[in-house]
């Protein structure tokens, strides 16, 4: 795990710093209020995923698929385009599109054959591409140095499952390899709260926030006609820390 954390930190630094460098390098970038803005987002998420499930097989009692590691973490990237909406002295609303890429996570567990024998393990990877119609609220705190932000989005999530494989736990049992990965679309929502800090790095506004993603349920493709039902990912959600910069 220690190695994984280092890798995660390295990814976050790269995802955050590199876009910032791009912004500074753009001579047309403007940091003040305007009618539309681009938002570049990076961060990390911690997802709840997988689904313990009974898989029916013709003539058999069937297999029970457990989820050994229901939580997984990885990095995310986001890109948004917002235009100004209503604005009062205290509140400003913005509307737009906000798409995210939640890097792949590993789902793994065991297969309890005939509900009795823990003879196989399985794993697959899960990648989410949610695309939201988004609304953003900026709440004036009375301090020019920071704003409170609220985000909300709704839209489709493109869920990709891949690299399904099984392994024998006893050296005697042969993997069934009854499933393969596939791409599906699910309903997804996101909500978040954050703090937008002005002039942290010179004139660059930096927003630090928490995001919750409801990612919906994907599934795998059954490749054996003797398998009655397919394995699904469960109704996944993710909690994320997101850093954003806007132009």
């Amino acid at each position: 795990m220690r190695g994984n954390n280092k890798e995660m930190l390295r990814r976050i630094i790269l995802l955050v710093v590199l876009p910032l460098q791009a912004v500074f390098a753009n001579p047309f970038s403007r940091l003040g209020p305007q009618h539309a803005m681009m938002v570049f987002q990076a961060g990390g998420f911690y997802a709840s995923q997988g689904n313990a499930e009974d898989i029916g097989i013709v003539g058999l009692i069937g297999d029970h698929y457990t989820v050994a590691h229901p939580y997984a973490k990885n990095g995310l990237l986001g890109l948004g385009y917002f235009i100004d909406g209503m604005e009062t002295n205290r509140v400003k609303w913005m509307y737009g599109l906000n798409a995210f890429y939640l890097a792949h996570t590993l789902v793994q567990g065991d297969i309890i054959q005939e509900e009795l024998f823990d003879n196989l393990s399985y794993s697959y990877t899960l990648t989410n591409y949610p695309i939201y119609l988004a609304a953003k609220t900026l709440l004036n705190t009375g301090n020019d140095n920071y704003l409170i932000t609220f985000d909300f989005g709704v839209g489709p999530n493109i869920i990709k499952t891949s690299s399904f494989k099984e392994n024998s736990l006893d050296g005697v049992t042969l993997p069934d390899n009854a499933f393969s990965g596939q791409t599906s679309v699910a309903f997804s929502v996101t909500a978040g709260v954050g703090v937008k800090l002005n002039n942290v790095f010179g004139q660059l506004p930096l927003e630090l926030g928490y995001r919750f993603f409801y990612l919906g349920q994907g599934n795998l493709n059954k490749v054996n006609s003797e398998v009655i039902n397919t394995l699904n990912t469960g109704k996944n959600y993710a909690n994320a820390l997101v850093f954003s910069v806007s132009t």
């Binding site: 042969l174 009854a178 003797e226």
Partner: protein
Amino acid sequence: MQRVLAFFIMMFFIPQTSIASGLLFSVAADGLPVSLNFTLCLNGQGPLSCQVYTASASTLTITPTVPNHVYPAIGIKINTPGYTPSGCTPIPNGYCLFSASSRTPANITVNPSSTLSYWVATNGNDSASGDYNHPLLTIQQAQNRVRSNPLRGVYTITVNIRGGTYRLNNTLTFNQSDSGTSSGSVIYRAAPGETPVISGGQQITGWTLQNAGLNIWQAQTTVNTFTMPRQLYVNGARRTRARTQTYPNYYTPTAAGYTYNYTGGSDPQYPPTWAQPTDVEFVTATQWKMMRCSVAQVNSNTNVVMQTPCWTNANTYPSPWNFYLISWLENAYEFLNTPGYWYLGPTSSPTTKIVYYIPLPGENITTADVELPILQTLVQGTGNSTTPISYLTFQGLNFQYATWLDIDSSTNSSPSSSSGYVCDQSGFHLLGTNHSSVLNIIGHDQNVTRMPGNVSFIYAQHITFTNNTFQHLGAVGLDFDTGGEFNQIVNNTFYDISGAGIQVGGVSPQDHHPVGLQLTTDNLISNNLVQNIGQEFYDAPGIYVGETTRTTVQYNDIQNVPWAGIAIGWGWGLLDPDGFPGLPNATQYMWGVYPTPSAAMGNQIFHNRIQNFLQQLWDGGAIYTTGYQGTSLANGEVIAFNVATNKRAAAGGNTFYTDGGSRYITLSDNVSLYNPSGFFDYGPCGLPDSFPAVPPNVQPCTLNSLNYGTDMGGCIPYGNMIVTNSYFVDATTFYLPCLIYNPSYPVNVALVNNTQVTDSSQVPASILSSAGRQ
């Protein structure tokens, strides 16, 4: 923020399961031992929920371990090559389905599958799989596949050899690594309806006319240094090695050979005309013997020095059993004067020779199939006295074109070598120099060597030859040497062979007084056709059985043999407990003291039909025996229901010839017809011979007008014999040509209820119809 941190911390909590792994099936194995690896699936259609199992026997009892559930489509797949399951329904994915539950196990039997069958074809490839569609090229490769097959000895493995000619460069050698078992033999057989030929021949082409006047044609061939083929076949027929007229009359015997006293000018018999004098063989054939010795050199134009030890060994026997007279000379270019004659001459290269041949009238040699045998042994099976080779079957194969070579120049074992061919009897001959320096006046040597087999086995058990053809061979067709047990030779054809057709057992000490697996016993020779054997070595019988126990020779047809049809036994009493001197001039125990009975016991010769015997030699019979054949009549030899006809009329002999030392023999229901009493034959008088000029100076040839033999008799049998229910032309005379040597023998010879007949109509039809192949 704290709650968020707590949430993230909780996410590291991972629930664990405690269910253990386990087997989906319980498998019990019984039946034939075999090492199996197989896959079982709860759903064989998928296949899903599969596990790999092993078992050590072929009958599997398979029980699902999950209680109270019936599995309707369990699948099994055998992973061990060469096996398929039965008791289930195969489906295309390779699994075989069956139903079972924890209360109702399934029984699945695993049987060998088609990978236990190999195919060989002349257009095959030795890298191929060896199945019907991808046959192997050589029998050797098939043998290798069988040898490495883990199922060898577990189940029967069959090598199917397709039609065509398989020319061998080397002998097919088998040993214990090729053996099968009682439950899994190895079969080398002809593909159904096809005729594979296993040939040791080299096809000779490129003929050109060499001598227009004599119509001699020549062709070059490549053979190795020690290869001196002794036969040539044209369009499947043996041709004659060039020879002189019979009884050449210009040679006077000397101690080292001959002098040649012809002064009439150029003559092919005149030694100085011979371009290759050391190729020339002197041949003598008289009484039961035949000898061949080559020339060592020709001196002073008139002195012919013969090769030793051949000449020395020949002269261990007295006249007329040595080169008393020369029957003919053989193997010189200068003897090529008759259509059908051939000669193999040298070239300047040691690896090439030239074949010369005078075609028969109408024979186009340029298009004929001319075969020169260059391999001695086609098949050699070798076991040893602790582990015999066993359970091989050869079926439907055609063995042909093998010869008798001087394979190793150090052994001088070929008739073409300096040892020549000095016959003792029945193909057993003298090799080397360790023979008596005292004149062998009994006519037999204790130290003799068997004629090799072109197909040969030693220490072999349960070897079977069925429906094969042995033809155009230069030694013994099929030979089972020491230690042959439970071998079967059934329904084969033996045709045109230089020596015996079949030879089982031997005459050496390990044969007549064997220890352990040296014993030759319980072999069967049945329903064979043995025809035109002894073509080159006239002393060879059609079937020879040595010192053996419980050999059965039955229902064979034996035709056109130069000496005896069937010969059995050895020793003339000198190897038996009494040391019986069953030969003229023999003395008791002169071959040693043997306090225990020999191996000759319980042999049976039934229902054989023997025709046209004694075609070249004399002093033999249709069936010839020597030595004790048991320890009582109860365990002795039985010769019954045999029909012997058409002996060469002039040949002296006894149709049922119980020769020296024969004892404990029952002859019953035998028939001898059209076998008139023949004569002595020591060749023409007036020729220079080796007979010593001692008083009263009676030359052997003067005996030629005397009758010799009848339907039964021998010289000097011990006795204890019954001749009963016979149908003989002379049913009362037991012919004893050697009575003057020991008038007290034979003893206890009972002639009971024999019938004198002159025609086959007087013989029960049941005997006539039951003789020969059925």
